[in-house]
Symmetry: C2
Subunit: 164 residues, 2 copies
DNA sequence: AATAGATAGTACATTTATGTAATACTTGCC
DNA sequence: GGCAAGTATTACATAAATGTACTATCTATT
């Protein structure tokens, strides 16, 4: 029995009481919340032995996915979906752990470059196998076609959210 | 241009550098994160004038979706996907606002019933039209068939996450 | 009835996260 | 030179989440 059943049951009752309530959008939004929570918790559990948490992992991976392993705080904020004030705090932590480096740009001295250190790169390489396993395992119930379909639908959903 | 493009671009680079990295699971997980954040922020913005936030809204709606508008803290935790320690904190706030009531059960005096007050019910009825609009609007880009398909795939995804 | 063990809920301490506003510099344009 | 706009950090205030331990109550067993 899925943990989602009680939630869905209550949404059904809500619809009976308030017929204008749009069941499917509400169900989808709740599912997203449940899934997000689960994925977040799983990732945190896996990453804890490596001394980092999920938000920090996201930042490291955004740097890893960039030529030269380097981004400005504002680019990093956009890529990771964090507010810039958060980026400062999170990158402070990563600097303190020696995983990234802050350097000021020569061309434009307002800018700061956040760059993976060798230690940061080594850490990423050490946890990536586990992350790959986790991701594969988490989506194991979905056939490749279903996964592709899900990606398409989620993108369409996100587009709708963003265009206001 | 979607805000997701920079993220996706960096996942593509990651795949080139580390071919074992499972692109689609990672993309789907990131999409869930982005969507969740957006939905959460939208809801908070809508609810702010009503003096509550998204987690509090979730609790109120789970009570509203129950016969008698009443649940135990543990049932509420399950339905809302929160830890029980969080429920105490959140329901403290709702009690302080006079939206719900705490009463101890007569049959089992370990148990506590959390029940919507008239004020809570009135508040729900006042924000529900806006919530319905928001939900409909957020999913407006999806055709009914696509929404149904998305629901199905998300459920399958969640099942996979839960069965370990 | 006595007691061990399970269950429900809360309290407290701690950590983590977030939001907002103010500040410090830099750049580029006029 | 002076001023508007851009970039990042800081500081502060809150909010939120988590973990652990604690109290009270109930159940089952003897």
């Amino acid at each position: 029995m899925s943990s989602f059943a009680p939630t869905e049951q209550r949404l059904a009752v809500t619809c009976r009481q308030y017929p204008a309530f749009p069941r499917e959008p509400a169900v989808v939004v709740r599912l997203v919340k449940h899934i997000h929570k689960r994925v977040h918790d799983d990732a945190n559990a896996l990453l804890k032995p490596f001394g980092i948490n999920h938000p920090e992992y996201n930042l490291l991976m955004m740097l890893y996915g960039t030529e030269g392993y380097s981004l400005n705080p504002s680019q990093l904020a956009e890529a990771a979906g964090e507010k810039s004030a958060n980026i400062t705090r999170l990158t402070d932590g990563l600097c303190a752990k020696g995983l990234i480096e802050r350097t000021t740009s020569d061309e434009d001295r307002r800018k700061v470059a956040l760059t993976l250190t060798d230690a940061g790169l080594a850490l990423i390489r050490s946890f990536l196998p586990g992350i790959c396993d986790l991701l594969a395992h988490q989506t194991a119930t979905l056939q490749p076609r279903e996964l592709a379909q899900l990606e398409k639908l989620l993108k369409k959903f996100l587009d709708g959210l963003e265009q206001g």
